[in-house]
């Protein structure tokens, strides 16, 4: 493929079609068309993105000058391709799953979100990366808000604030880095020579990777997102962060330790959670922990393991969220204490969910087995024995909570509670079916995945010992659940997490505003009313007389025009953060376009 663009002295000639352009164009068309028509476009964009990724050849493309900087948006190498590959596939699966949704704003937000993810994957420098990063942050916030309920509004605001904080860390780090080194190039950083600005960038990346204790936005927001939005969010935000960590921070020992702690932390909370989508959200923390640990250990096999696990994880986690989303869509709740006994009425959702559940648990013949064991083996062989053991503990917890507890209490666990069920649309089954097929395909054909990995693969998953070890571990985990089954009954409770401290900080800030800022404001208002207002009123009266007698006499209607503009501006001030954020994006894109074409 060839794309040629000439814009005001900027000329781009490249041999690849950037997938972001496909999704940006799709977002524009979805915006213009009514929802019933527009919803058919994103799956086409997903298919085109797969073709674009399959036609990629390694190289540097799409170099351009912008604001006096030499930037690059098309670095295509093995590391970028493995993520782009699965991003394109999951985009298609997600949009098929969302095909019944008439709300065009959900499709538009998803298209912009995926465009941002591809922008990050192919970014050659921190400037392009940051643009994609922020596009993802804003558009994914709308995937939460568009569920349009008070819980999602609150969760979306907390999500956006936290990602803004992470984005500011990245921005501060890249600016300080440029000041110190004179470059925005996004390249691997040597752990031995990392500077404070590099760590600042890493912290920003760690926010999106949900590294504890910066993770609480994830189990807070994902369960409150739209049914289809959660499917997209489970695939792109944390995995884009895994990509940038693999690109820039491989071999940072702290990531190896934090990643292993994430694997344990996620399964601990998943064991006691009640909401199916929150259980899955905690399992994202856990599974991304394997990837972060692999990157931190930094050996060729663990880097491969991190990439392979990211690929497999995107597919099975998407399928898990699709299964839980189908429960929520059909039964109106994802709380396990309200579900139960649904197997006879939703058998296919159960079967498809279980394909993902055994994949994430690392059962032989399914995708997690060929990816997770690579990371654990790599950790053990590079003498990170304790980290490898921690990951084995997490593997037990994964099967305990996602593989047994969640499906047992949703589809079995007692008699059918008689919840009225809405029929699940055919497209949701189709999306889940494609995801299930790929989970199985990768499990039986690991070469399909291994040939994409950035380093030569020296790992054979299907040895008698690997298979037997996995079956022993998971089989006896099942026995553990059987012993504990009465104690494992889900309870309608909220479990405190680190967001307790975030909220505490917010409450302290609010108290400061109320006790100090509001008092100062009231004092100033009083002072202004007594000391300044009378004089201002006299000046205003004189001005009004002059305006009526002189100015409007010369330029008739000016005052009326100003008043109308003022009324228009007043209408734009809705007091809703969602509206301001959308307006900020539109204005930002308009400024970007103006500078691009006439700058």
């Amino acid at each position: 493929m060839a794309v040629t663009a000439a814009t005001g002295g900027i000329r781009i000639v490249s041999d690849f079609l950037h997938p972001s352009l496909i999704f940006l164009a799709c977002a524009g068309l979805v915006w213009l068309l009514p929802g019933r028509l527009g919803r058919w476009l994103p799956p086409i964009a997903g298919a085109l993105a797969i073709l674009a990724v399959l036609s990629l050849r390694h190289g540097d493309y799409a170099h351009f000058r912008y604001l006096g900087l030499d930037l690059g948006a098309g670095r295509v190498d093995a590391l970028a391709v493995v993520f782009a590959h699965v991003f394109a596939i999951q985009a298609l699966i997600g949009f098929i799953y969302a095909l019944h949704v008439d709300d065009k704003w959900q499709h538009l937000a998803a298209c912009l979100y995926i465009a941002g993810a591809f922008g990050c994957v192919f970014a050659n420098d921190y400037v392009v990366l940051f643009i994609g990063w922020e596009l993802m942050s804003v558009s994914s916030t709308f995937l939460v808000w568009l569920r349009r309920c008070p819980a999602s509004t609150g969760a979306g605001i907390r999500y956006f604030l936290f990602h803004t904080l992470g984005g500011l860390c990245v921005l501060a780090g890249l600016l300080l880095r440029h000041q110190a080194l004179g470059t925005f190039a996004f390249t691997a950083i040597d752990p031995a020579n990392a500077q404070y600005f590099d760590y600042l960038i890493m912290v920003g990346f760690c926010v999106n990777a949900a590294v504890i204790p910066l993770h609480a936005w994830l189990p807070d927001a994902y369960p409150e997102a739209t049914v289809t939005g959660a499917v997209f969010m489970s695939a792109f935000t944390t995995k884009t962060a895994v990509y940038v960590l693999a690109r820039g921070f491989a071999g940072f020992e702290i990531l190896g330790i934090m990643g292993t702690l994430m694997t344990l932390y996620g399964v601990f909370y998943a064991t006691i959670e009640n909401n199916a989508r929150r259980i899955l959200a905690y399992h994202i923390v856990s599974q991304v922990g394997y990837m972060v640990a692999g990157i931190g250990i930094g050996a060729a096999m663990t880097i491969n393991g991190a990439c392979a696990h990211a690929y497999a994880h995107i597919l099975y986690k998407g399928l898990l969220f699709m299964g839980a989303g189908a429960l929520l869509y059909s039964a109106g709740t994802a709380k396990l204490n309200e579900l139960g006994g649904l197997f006879r009425r939703m058998p296919w959702v159960f079967y498809l969910y279980m394909v993902a559940a055994v994949s994430i648990s690392g059962f032989p013949l399914f995708s997690g087995f060929v990816s997770k064991t690579m990371t654990i083996t790599g950790a053990a062989e590079s003498h990170h024995t304790w980290l490898a053991l921690g990951m084995e503990v997490a593997a037990v917890g994964t099967f305990l909570s996602v593989g047994i507890k969640l499906p047992f209490f949703a589809w079995f666990g007692g008699p059918d509670k008689g919840l009225p069920l809405k029929p699940v649309p055919w497209n949701m089954y189709l999306g889940m079916g494609i995801g299930a097929f790929l989970c199985f395909w990768i499990g039986i054909q690991p070469g399909f995945l291994y040939h994409l990995l950035p380093n030569p693969v020296e790992y054979t998953p299907y040895t008698p010992w690997h298979v037997l070890q996995a079956l022993l571990l998971l089989g006896f985990t099942g026995l553990g659940f059987y012993i504990l089954r009465a104690r494992m009954t889900p309870e309608a409770k909220l479990n405190l997490d680190f967001d307790y401290f975030y909220r505490l900080v917010a409450r302290v800030f609010l108290a400061f505003c109320r006790q100090v800022v509001e008092r100062l404001d009231n004092w100033w208002t009083e002072f202004y009313a007594r000391a300044g207002l009378k004089g201002m009123l006299k000046v205003a009266a004189g001005s009004a007389w002059f305006d009526k007698a002189a100015i409007d006499g010369v330029v008739d209607g000016t005052a009326l025009g100003v008043r109308r503009v003022g009324q228009g501006a007043t209408l734009a001030q809705t007091g809703r953060l969602q509206d301001y954020l959308a307006a900020a994006v539109v204005v930002g894109l308009a400024i970007f376009a103006l500078v691009w074409f006439w700058g």
Binding site: A380, V396, L472, F476, L484, E491, K493, W524
Partner: protein, 112 residues
């Protein structure tokens, strides 16, 4: 605190014939796996003890029971709260209305 609200787990109901057969099948399958482990062992054990037959069987059941008891114990003592815990603690938002919406974007001189 919610620990006082916690109900102890109910005793399991008597098993039906199908459940008894399934349980026997599970025990049989697990026994076969342990028997296989007598003959199939890792060439290069990473943790020392994992070279012993049955290590991963004991590891699996011990971690599952330990994790389940630890996590549930934490939930019943200090982590678990009522579902509206934050709703009750968070300050109530200002009442929404045409006047509030119209003045939502104004600055510090809200008293005017």
């Amino acid at each position: 605190m919610t620990s006082h609200d916690h109900q102890p787990p109910q005793p399991a109901a008597p098993l039906g014939p199908t459940a008894i057969k399934l349980r026997l099948a599970m025990y049989l399958a697990l026994g076969v796996l342990v028997a296989l482990n007598l003959f199939v062992l890792p060439h290069d054990p990473h943790f020392g003890l994992d070279g012993w037959p049955g290590f991963w069987a004991v590891f699996g059941v011990a971690v599952a029971v330990g994790l389940g008891r630890l996590a549930k114990g934490a939930a019943h003592t200090f982590l678990g709260k009522d579902e509206d815990f934050y709703l009750r603690r968070d300050p109530k938002p200002a009442p929404a209305g045409p006047a509030a919406a119209g003045h939502g974007g104004h600055g510090g001189h809200g008293g005017h």
